[in-house]
């Protein structure tokens, strides 16, 4: 495989998709209120650049806030659950059950508690994205080799020593992998809440655009969310590689 082709491949796929989309819209003469062509979406995006950016910033910050809480809470619960078999057994069914609740069904409850606006969006982003962090951190800690634990315990290491010296470093690749998943889920959460209960953010923008049949603006919103998701995913993929290079070594490239 040529390295250049590998690098260019994702861009080519995206470009190809937009091209195909444009061709279908033009070729079959699809009405704009059903499926706007990418050119029409682009046009509206340029025209309404300032308001879109304003809403996008709102969504972005909301998502980051929810994500930050999710990382913190996820790490704490994950550490507790991962280092204690008792807590693991005790908490897991509850966590799984909670994670199975569709968060969109929970937004109205949050609205009753906190009113319409940013807070329910932040909380929805948090609720939807903390679970993968918990699961991964707990898995990383719970799969510690028993012999290694014996080596340390026979030296008189406390549980905290074992957690700090071995458990946490060993769980880091799992943790960073979960961040990539969590950040994209956080976007889902904040946009869902904005659609239902906000007057700011990309979710709200799309909601109001679709009620006035402005489909190009709806699609512009979708694309903006997608782009933000990809950028943040790549950012955390990069951080993951930098922080835990020992877990991502190339067996042939070693030494």
């Amino acid at each position: 495989m040529k390295p250049n082709l590998v690098k260019a491949a994702p861009w080519l796929v995206v470009a190809g998709m937009f091209l195909l989309w444009e061709l279908i819209c033009v070729g079959f003469d699809v009405p704009e209120f059903l499926l706007p062509a990418p050119s029409a979406v682009w046009h509206v995006g340029v025209e309404q650049f300032a308001p879109i950016m304003m809403h996008a910033t709102q969504t972005f910050l909301t998502t980051l806030a929810g994500f930050a809480i999710a990382v913190l809470v996820g790490l704490l619960i994950g550490m507790a659950v991962g280092s204690s078999p008792l807590l693991y057994r005790a908490m897991y069914p509850l966590l799984v059950g909670f994670n199975s609740i569709p968060k969109v069904a929970f937004v109205p409850v949050l609205v009753v508690w906190f009113g319409i606006g940013t807070v329910p969006a932040i909380l929805t982003a948090f609720l939807i994205s903390f679970f993968p962090v918990v699961v991964n951190v707990a898995t990383g800690l719970a799969t510690l080799e028993p012999e290694l634990e014996d080596v340390l315990r026979s030296l008189g290491a406390s549980r905290l020593d074992i957690l700090a010296k071995v458990g946490l470093p060993r769980a880091m690749p799992y943790f960073f992998a979960s961040l990539k998943v969590a950040i994209t889920l956080a976007f889902v959460g904040s946009v869902i809440a904005e659609t239902v209960a906000s007057n700011l953010g990309i979710g709200y923008l799309m909601m109001s655009a679709s009620s006035s049949m402005n489909m190009p603006l709806v699609f512009a919103g979708l694309i903006v969310i997608g782009v933000m998701g990809v950028v943040m995913y790549e950012l955390f993929a990069f951080v993951e590689k930098r922080m835990t290079s020992w877990a991502h070594r190339n067996p042939n490239g070693a030494a």
Partner: protein
């Protein structure tokens, strides 16, 4: 005065469950090299857990250094079949891990780091790992990882070294090299060794005393002193006396397996 002493020790992992070892009595002198052999699942690893204080006996008494074992001992170093090095640490940092846990090193590590580091480098050089201190575990061969693992078990100068099939996963030539490495370390600065192994040649070559254990529940069947002159060279493994010991032990094991 024995250094390690078992008095009629039983251990069941679950209370009231099947015994892993039964009525084991043995004594180890300070500085003695002991090997424990037996069929798989005979509770050899259980023995190690009892000595290191990771497990309490269900019956009988375990004494180390004249005191009854009541919890993890800090005078013990351990190494297993898997080297279990931490992949995010260099070889040197892996070897120095126990110093971050055991006193008095733990509280003086910050101040004395250069001195401890020099000691770790010296130890690595003794086992032929000079020049590999800053490599990561995955950059080392299996034999080198095991050497580093044994250094990690020895860095805090334990009085008791416990090895659970440490050379089991290595090829025959590497294994013999590591026998010699362990022999040299032990002769340079004597400590008590308890080696659990499947390999009778290994047991006879290295040990002063070999214990043969029975099938589960593990009991001590035979205690055999190996009266070969030290220092032993690999050539000794081709002598008749050596073959005699291996043959005798093999017969005991054969009987155990057949029973």
């Amino acid at each position: 005065m024995s250094f390690v002493k078992f008095e009629n020790v039983d251990l069941a992992y679950a209370p009231g469950g099947a015994l892993a070892i039964e009525d084991v009595s043995l004594e180890v002198r300070e500085g003695e090299f002991v090997a424990v052999v037996g069929p798989s699942g005979c509770g050899k690893s259980t023995l190690m857990k009892l000595i290191s204080g990771l497990r309490m006996p269900s019956g009988g008494y375990v004494y180390v250094d004249g005191r009854q074992v009541g919890g993890p001992l800090k005078i013990v170093g351990m190494a297993f079949q898997n080297a279990n090095l931490l992949p995010w640490r260099t070889t040197l940092d892996n070897v120095m891990l126990p110093l971050e846990i055991v006193e008095p090193y733990r509280s003086t590590l910050k101040k004395e780091r250069p001195r401890y580091e020099a000691e770790a480098r010296q130890l690595l050089a003794k086992v032929g790992l000079a020049g590999f201190e800053d490599k990561f575990p995955w950059e080392l061969s299996g034999g080198m990882q095991q050497r580093a693992s044994i250094c990690r078990a020895l860095i805090h100068q334990p009085r008791l070294l416990m090895l659970d099939e440490p050379f089991g996963a290595l090829d025959a030539f590497t294994r013999e090299e590591l026998w010699c490495m362990l022999r040299d370390l032990w002769q340079l600065q004597p400590f008590t060794v308890i080696l659990v192994t499947h390999d009778l040649r290994e047991a006879v070559f290295l040990a002063d005393t070999v214990y043969v254990m029975s099938k589960r529940p593990g009991r001590v069947l035979v205690r055999r002193e190996i009266d070969l002159p030290r220092p032993r060279d690999l050539d000794v493994t081709y002598t008749d006396a050596f073959a005699g010991y291996v043959h005798e032990l093999r017969e005991h094991i054969g009987r155990v397996r057949a029973s």
